[in-house]
Amino acid sequence: MKKVILKIEGLKKSFGSKEVIKDFDLNIYEGEFLTLLGSSGCGKTTILRMIAGLDSVTEGHIYIDEKEVTTLDPKYREVNTIFQNYALFPLMTVEENIGFGLKMKKVDKKVIKQRVQEMLELVHLQGYEKRMPKELSGGEQQRVSIARALINKPKVLLLDEPLSALDQKLRKSMQLELKQLQKKLGITFIYVTHSQDEALTMSDRIVLLKDGKIEQVDTPIKIYEHPNSLYTAQFLGESNLFTGTVSVVDEKYTLVNVDDQVLKILSQKWKVDDSLDIILRPENIKIDVKNKQENVLEGKIVESIYDGASTKLMIRVQKRLISAMYLGNDKLYSKGQVVSVSWDIEDAIVLKRDVYEK
C-alpha cells in the first residue's frame, strides 16, 4: 500500500449561505498525479485553495503527511501552488522570482543561486536569469512559475488550470513535459482542470466533481470505460444514449425495449422492468458490418466531419441522432447514404436509472 501524503476528511466550504463543497473525502498517495476535474463552478479550485491555505475551511480536516494543517498559515504548509495566471512577481527578475521561496526561508545566498541554476536547467530556461517576467512568452512564464514552486521541494504541488492560457500546440507539449517532470521528481501533483482531455492524458487518477461533491474517483481508463453514472459518462468523452426498460432476462443476455426497438445487452444484475441507460462511445459504433444479428439499426448519414486523424459521422436512426467515429478516411460515406449501425455487445455501458435519479 502506498503512503497517503494528503488526507482530506469531511471537507466543507460555504461562501455566505452558499455551500460550495459538500462533504469531500479523499486520500492522495505519494507520487501520484491526481486530477480534480469538473465544469466551472463545481468547486475544484476551492478545494485546491483550501489545501494551499488560501481559503479557509468551513468544516472538516486536511492532513499533509499525517500532520493536520486545516488552520495552518499557507507559509508553513509544505505545498506550493502554480497559479492560473502564473502570478510571477512583475518587478523581480526570473532569478529573483525562482529564488523567492528559499530567500523567505533565509537560505544562504550561494545555495539559492546554485539551486536556481538547477531549476532553470530542469525547466530548460538556462540564460534567462536576468529577464523580467514581462519579457517572457506565456510558455516561458509558465516554466518560471513551475521552477519557482518546485525549488521549495513541496510534498504536494498544486496546479490550478496551469495550461489554460496557452495555445493548443504548446498546451499539448506542456502536458507531456509536466507529466515527465512529475515522474522524474516523484512529487505528488494535484491538478485542477475542466478539460477532460487533459485529465485523461495526464492523470494517474481522476476525481470527477459535480456541484461540490465527488461523482467518481478512478483511473482514466476505468472512469472512461466504466463510468458509474450518466453524468460521468457524458462528461468524459462523447456518448450515444439509449434509455429503455428491461423486458426479458436470461442467463447470458438481457433484452431492453428502447422506443420500438429491442436492444440486447449482457445480463448482470438487471431485473424485468428495470429502467436502464445504455451508453455507447462513438468509436465503438460499427457501420455496415456484415454477419451481425443483434443490435443492428438502420440509419441515414446526416453529416460527415473529417478532422485529419479521424472521421466523425452523424447518423439519424429514427428520431435519434447517433455519432460514430472511425480512424482516417478509408471508408467514405456521403450525406444521405443509408447504412446499418451496430456495436459489440460488450462495448455497451449500462447503468440503472434510479442509481442517480433521486
Binding site: L54, V79, F83, A87, F89, G101, M104
Partner: protein
C-alpha cells in the same frame, strides 16, 4: 489634413493661454524681480543685483528653510504611516464599500480649508473640546498644550494633506494583483515580508507621487502655521508672505520663492534619479 492640424491647435489654445499667462509669465516675472533692488517704500528699483540671493543664505532664513523641510518631511512621513494601513484595509473591501470610503476621504475638501483650520482651533485649544473631555473624565489635571506649537502645526498639515497621499497610494495599490500576495504567502512569505517585498515596490510610484504632493505644499501652507502655530512659527510660506505683504520687500520675497521652486525641483530630480517616472506624477515624461 491642414485643417485638421488647425483644429487640433484650436483645441489647445485655452491650455496654452492658461499655462503661458497664469504660470509661465508670472514665474518669469518673479524671477525677474528677484534680481531687482527694493526701495524703502515697498517699490522696486530697476538695477540688477544678486544681493537678494545672498540674503537668503543668512542664518535666520536658512534655519526657516531647515525647519520648513523638517515639518514637511515629518508631515509626509506621518501621512505615509496613516495612508498605507488605510489603503491596504480598504483595498480588500467590496468595490462599493471602497467607493464610499474614498468619497468620505474627499468630503472635507468641499469646505474651505481655512474654515477647517478654525475648526481645529475649537478642538485643540486649552479650553477646547479635547481638553475639556480629558479634564472631565480625569485623565489629565492640567489642560494640554495641543496648539500654538509644532504639534498643532503637524496636526493641521497632516489633516489637510492626507488625502493627497491616500489618493495616489490607493490608485497604485489597486493595481497590485491579489494573486501575487497569495503567491508570496504560498512561497512562505509572512504578511510583513509580503508588504515590503511585493506591495511596497509595486506602489512606489504612488508613494513618490503622494510624497511630492504632500511635501511641496507643506513647505508653503502659511495659514496653518498662522492659525495653529499662533503666528510664533515660520515656515517658507510665512516668510514669503511676510516679505510680500508685511515687509513689502518684493524682490527678496521673489528670491525666496525662486529658491523654494529650486528646492522642489531638486526633489523631483531625486525622484527621477530613483527611477520614478514623470507619468506617475501626472505630468508628461
Amino acid at each position: 489634413m491642414k485643417s485638421k492640424k488647425v483644429w487640433k491647435f484650436f483645441f489647445l489654445v485655452p491650455v496654452i493661454l492658461y499655462v503661458t499667462l497664469l504660470i509661465a509669465l508670472p514665474l518669469l516675472y518673479i524671477l525677474f524681480i528677484s534680481f531687482l533692488k527694493s526701495d524703502y517704500y515697498g517699490g522696486m528699483i530697476s538695477s540688477f543685483t544678486i544681493q537678494n540671493y545672498i540674503d537668503v543664505f543668512d542664518q535666520v532664513y536658512v534655519s526657516v528653510f531647515l525647519k520648513s523641510i523638517a515639518i514637511a518631511g515629518i508631515t509626509t512621513l506621518i501621512c505615509i504611516l496613516i495612508s498605507y494601513p488605510f489603503v491596504l484595509a480598504i483595498s480588500h473591501k467590496k468595490p462599493r464599500t471602497q467607493k464610499i470610503l474614498m468619497t468620505l476621504v474627499m468630503v472635507p475638501f468641499l469646505t474651505n480649508s481655512l474654515i477647517r483650520m478654525y475648526g481645529w482651533l475649537v478642538l485643540l485649544r486649552k479650553s477646547g473640546v479635547i481638553n475639556q473631555v480629558l479634564l472631565g473624565i480625569g485623565v489629565i489635571e492640567e489642560p494640554l498644550s495641543l496648539m500654538y506649537n509644532t504639534f498643532g502645526i503637524l496636526v493641521g498639515m497632516v489633516y489637510t494633506l492626507l488625502p493627497f497621499m491616500i489618493l495616489p497610494l490607493y490608485s497604485s495599490i489597486s493595481t497590485v494583483d491579489n494573486r501575487l500576495l497569495e503567491a508570496a504567502s504560498d512561497l512562505g512569505a509572512s504578511k510583513f515580508k509580503t508588504f515590503f517585498k511585493i506591495i511596497v515596490p509595486q506602489t512606489l510610484p504612488g508613494l513618490f507621487n503622494g510624497s511630492l504632493m504632500v511635501f511641496t505644499p507643506a513647505l508653503g501652507y502659511f495659514f496653518i502655521t498662522d492659525i495653529l502655530g499662533g503666528g510664533k512659527f515660520m515656515i517658507l510660506g510665512n516668510l514669503i508672505k511676510n516679505q510680500f505683504l508685511t515687509a513689502r520687500n518684493w524682490p527678496f520675497g521673489a528670491a525666496i520663492s525662486i529658491v523654494l521652486v529650486l528646492v522642489t525641483c531638486v526633489f523631483i530630480f531625486l525622484y527621477r534619479k530613483l527611477g520614478g517616472k514623470m507619468d506617475d506624477l501626472g505630468g508628461a515624461s
